[in-house]
Symmetry: C2
Subunit: 393 residues, 2 copies
């Protein structure tokens, strides 16, 4: 079935249980689906734009109210919407990082954090993870001292992922922020896997910025994201324009240069807004998500040789496993090689594991029902036994 | 009717003829509406992402093919999709503009061009328009010489809007680019009102970059846009990442820092792709659009006292008029003041004129049928005569 000339209508989330690591939290709610159709047209949210002519002041649809609610929900002072978390990173690095400045991130940081640093000419310095793949406050302090010793400079910014994309481990942002602040380093909390998934309280964490991803974790269309700041930092990152035309003497009011003027528009913004009531509710029930994850992971671990590489027991549904001594053994002699695994899953209505991957791979059970989690658990066990793998006694 | 909790379903383009200056070219096609539903979920286009793991290499949906077609259609060597034209500007200023560098734009330039310069610390220098509100090659040469004399520096970049947002006038980009290139200044063609509306041939224009807006002129959801470059400039703006993790020694393949890695995702991209066949076709029929504009503008000019401020006869459907000596006269004594005008238009099924505006205002007839244009023309004349304004003999 095609939705347009040459474009197949996507039905992945209608026809399958999808455990893709990055897609689980970004599935639209029914309200968001209706909203993207109603507000699909380009400048759809601008019908009632009035002075001071900035998108986040529009009352109909209730964009201004959404911004206030969003800031309160994150317990931060100000918030803006951005076209993806990465554009939030970019606004912050462009404000604080100059050529040659050292910037902290971690050995588990996402590539977009590196790119945001590269764009401003900063030097990326990784805080190493420990043996458990966790970033600690101690490691942060040691790294800051190392950077100071080597470069004579204090890092100008620290990116800390609350939950990293590699292991889905939870890192102690609160303790890390305390250390960073001891050196007056502003802390950017990367909540790409938490904002919209878990409760996030920016003030309690003691961070300067909270960045979240709409399309990764807030049931919104891409590209969308949020950038929240404390009052002090908002004055810096959300400063208003000061440029002027030399001939016309034009100025540009309260537009913000780091936001490139009006922020997230149209279908993406309204999708984010439409999903927000459900998103606020769903973060209160993460225990159910962990329970489903436990059910699936225990089934995987019941296959002899399977190891979990993420922290265990799990505190997040994004999970990394090592099946070199289990499912990959089958691949060695299977006529479809590693593709037998994703193929067998697909036959059971499951997608989201990289086709061909049987060594180290990730999955995310977020958003599954307990019945679907049961089906996932049974599917992994069945595929193991059908291919002659033994189960743990 | 609500599409989500607290959000009214928008029906502006279903219930009214909408002549809003910025909304006319961004209404979705039927195919785009279907596509945004099918690809509404966050990372929807990433189902079949394979090595080298960059969005513009994905074949299903046919994103890679779309990029090739788009570059060919604009007659440029490379193209990327971006979250709005402004993000294309930003990538270019971040590549070429350093603190204190003079940058050319025009006295009719859009504010987002100023913000892109401000973000990098550049100095905005406006090429003045002439008495007809046109930017000329001569004025460009004079301004370059002036900047060089005053700052001892050659401008590092020139933003030229083919059609400006204030008057909808067409400026001679080809001649201007020739002058700029005489001084080795790269030229950014701002096609926010042309790409998707008129045929655009980048090589023939002799520009270094073509930037277009999906949500303004390519029948796509917001935020979306395109950034095309010549081969030489592509190597600069689309350079690949060189940053490395100091602990992990990670590198990030062919991701591009100015693009912040993967480019436009999900519903916005697929909306742009779904509308593309119709957009390619519609640019061939701009004569019909001008004919509708002529019909409406002649009706407005038939009201004694109305003046057209845009170049006349019109070469674009975005038009600025002065009704101080016509419709504004009525507002002086009308109990609804200036709001009588937008109110009367709305009663006739017409929206898009700023409520209360009766002095200088803009409209855009793009996308109307000839029957709708006739209705618009009749509506303006009827409102004039009903309010005692006289018509030209």
């Amino acid at each position: 079935m095609r939705c347009a000339n040459g474009i197949e209508a996507r039905q992945v989330n209608e026809l399958f249980i999808n455990i893709d690591p990055i897609q689980a939290g970004g599935r639209l709610t029914a309200d968001a689906m209706k909203a993207v159709i109603a507000y699909g047209d380009g400048y759809s949210v601008c019908d009632n734009c009035r002075k001071p002519n900035r998108l986040d002041y529009i009352n109909k649809p209730p964009i201004a109210e959404f911004h206030r609610d969003l800031a309160a929900w994150l317990n931060m002072d100000s918030v803006r919407t951005v076209p993806g978390a990465r554009r939030g990173f970019q606004a912050i690095t462009n404000t604080y990082v100059r050529k040659g400045d050292p910037v902290l991130l971690t050995s588990l940081s996402h590539y977009t954090e590196f790119l945001a640093i590269e764009e401003t000419g900063g030097i990326a310095r990784e805080i190493p993870h420990d043996a458990d793949h966790k970033i600690t406050a101690d490691a942060t302090a040691i790294k800051i001292e190392e950077v100071m010793r080597e470069s004579g400079r204090v890092p100008v910014l620290a990116f800390i992922d609350h939950v990293d994309y590699q292991y889905g481990n939870i890192h102690d942002v609160k303790a890390i922020a305390k250390v960073a602040h001891h050196y007056d380093i502003p802390v950017l909390y990367n909540g790409a896997y938490t904002v919209g998934i878990l409760p996030v309280d920016g003030k309690d964490l003691g961070v300067d910025f909270v960045v979240g991803s709409g399309h990764k974790s807030m049931a919104a269309p891409a590209p969308s994201g949020v950038l929240a700041a404390t009052k002090e930092r908002a004055a810096e990152v959300f400063r208003t324009t000061a440029i002027e035309g030399d001939v016309t003497k034009r100025k540009f009011g309260i537009k913000e240069p780091e936001m490139m003027g009006c922020t997230l528009m149209g279908a993406t913004l309204v999708g984010l807004m439409a999903s927000f009531p459900l998103v606020k509710e769903r973060v209160k029930h993460f225990d159910r998500e962990l329970e489903n994850n436990r059910m699936v992971l225990e089934a995987l671990l019941s296959v002899s040789g399977t190891k979990v590489l993420s922290e265990y027991p799990r505190n997040h549904t994004l999970t990394r496993v090592d099946t070199i001594a289990s499912f990959d053994k089958v691949a060695e002699s299977h006529k479809k090689r590693g593709f037998y695994f994703s193929g067998a899953l697909e036959e059971k209505g499951i997608v989201g594991v990289i086709p061909g991957a049987t060594k180290v791979w990730k999955f995310n059970t977020y958003g599954t029902t307990s019945k679907q989690a049961r089906h996932l658990a049974d599917a992994f066990v069945t595929i193991a036994t059908e291919n002659g793998l033994s189960l743990m006694k």
